[in-house]
Symmetry: none
Subunit: 200 residues, 4 copies
DNA sequence: CATGAATGAGCTTTCATTCAT
DNA sequence: CATGAATGAAAGCTCATTCAT
């Protein structure tokens, strides 16, 4: 159904209005700083209207964060699947995908990072499992690159974590209307990421 | 009054008990997720006891975040002042200082990053001014290195932001009781940082 | 739409339950001496139930005092409108109306007098404007009587204020179940009021 | 020690500073609307300093109200004692004394009237006893006047209460810097009072 | 889905008051 | 008397959530 490079293309996320409102609100004021009344106002629904769709505020957060991480994983897999079967090609594709996601799903990324602590234990466990799954994709590719000799970093695990930090950091300052074009940012950060894993 | 390398040494922060309790609580549950009752319990004070020392919960957050950023700036200046007057020496010192701070003042760094949005506008402005001051220290050193030819990065501003992201990221996963020794982490991340600015 | 003498007839005020509770409570213990919890108990509502209907305790006081002064003005106008167009008839009607009001709306009158200082500045200004409007009705009638020669007081302004004081005073001691019948009280105080303006 | 007409002369009340502060504060904001902290600030004392002199806020109110009513009774007695032994002379003297008191001890009168409800039951009982004693002085003189035929009012009790209301009302609007001179006000209100009891 | 009313639990903050120094 | 620290109780108000219509 999707062409090979769909992971690069970001449209409006098409979130149901409650999740869309929650995304804005949680990103701006945090989960605990957002009231259900505010969600109602932002959606144009009534407060009981919200509860018609969700059993609790927590459920909204869970739904939202799961959608976000699932989209990230999905796009990451597509990126890797569409790349040539070399560590470098796969690395470049995955990092590019990570970067695009943190640019174009900025708010989702911010909420997911900062509200992990607001998830109740069970929900948190589920979320963390998926986030770790995502991180392992990068770990594996870097390890493969090191084993094949294409990447020269002596500490692949740290490099992987550092690259993830870098990409997550992008969400905190990137603006679509800022100075840096998408392509330029990708190019520069890819260069940095390659430097980190030791690609010459 | 202080030996040259004081910026490397971290003792207990010696925070007054209320700020110390707030630091733990805000880091764990966030500003809005922390109640004044909880602060009281953690301090061993009564709720009005808290208000004897602080006029509002917001004031506690402000005091805490200002102490954190001021310590960071102070240590950064010491690090640079104590280094040789070459871009590389200054860069290494500042990055090391940033890394140490995000390892040893982990919670303060987490709170400062995630609760910026919880500061009321005036307080936020003051905080952001100091944070920008800190960031400019790194910007300038990298620019100097590029001008002198010691650093080869073609986009110093991005490199500076990337390195800051990297260091901030450390606070989110570093554990004092983890696998990685301080010295090892410093070595690895310094190598990465140098790769980012293009030191051969 | 109403019969001519409606201003003489006092039924239960038909206040919404919150205002009714506030009326009793503020009259007994004062605005600052009344807690929202007490209002809740008196209404049979919970505390948030109160806040569903009013945004603040101050808003309750405002609503209450405005209802009181508006009813007073309304009845005063009706009394004057229904009287013959002679100063004496209008004076008698207005004073009778004032007296009845301070007998049958005793608590409202007490609250309005004693809690003026508890109104926030804007609300106070609005209330005072209406109270002055009410006072001017009496002033004008007395002046008219003096001009026509029917009233002989040499200081109409003081007489007007004195009569108002007198009527307000009634609220502080009148009891429906006391010794004095309504008609007797009206007769005596009307006699006094006429003596004050100098009607022979 | 006092000359005959001392009841006419009002100096500064010479209240101890705590009572003086309480007088202002209670008059402006009411007993329940005034905090002990505010009393401390107004006196220049510390909060524990207040408690060095008074065991509770209630005690301050009691002391204040008792001083006020005692001064009123004292001056009333002096006024009557200094007057000729005729109902009219005694009436005039007592009413003049009441008027002067409500002009020159305005705030004390306001507090005493509005904070009666804030006195705890025992204290209230004591206060009411004295206030009634004061009222009886006026009652008796009017009765004497009626018996001697000098006063023609057919309802002396109501007249007495009306006159008291009138005098109390003065405290609510009189300003020392207003239009009305003391002597003018006295003259007019005495005329009114005499009209009420039916002195020709 | 909306409206309107409602609430248990809990929020931040303040009160009068106390005690050690 | 001041300073400074402290507190039980309670204040005004808000939260997430629910229910009837």
């Amino acid at each position: 159904m999707n062409g090979a490079e769909d992971w690069r293309i970001y449209h409006d996320q098409g979130l149901p209005r409650i999740l869309s409102a929650a995304l804005q609100a949680f990103a701006e004021r945090g989960y605990h700083g957002t009231t259900t009344r505010e969600l109602a106002e932002r959606t144009g629904l009534s407060v009981p209207g919200i509860y018609h769709h969700y059993r609790s505020k927590q459920d909204i957060l869970v739904d939202l964060m799961m959608l976000v991480i699932d989209e990230l994983i999905d796009r990451s897999r597509q990126a890797v699947a569409g790349a040539a079967v070399t560590p470098r090609a796969q690395f470049d594709a995955l990092v590019e995908s990570l970067l695009r996601f943190h640019m174009f799903r900025k708010q989702g990324a911010i909420v997911s990072t900062s509200e992990l602590r607001s998830l109740e234990p069970d929900n948190r466990a589920k979320y963390v499992a998926r986030r770790d799954e995502q991180q392992r994709m990068l770990d594996k590719i870097i390890l493969a690159g090191v084993e094949s000799g294409e990447f020269t970093t002596p500490y692949p695990a740290d490099a992987s974590r550092a690259i993830a930090s870098l990409c997550v950091g992008v969400a905190s300052w990137y603006r679509a209307d800022g100075q840096l074009s998408v392509e330029t940012l990708l190019e520069r950060y890819l260069t940095i990421a390659e430097a980190i894993v030791g690609i010459h």
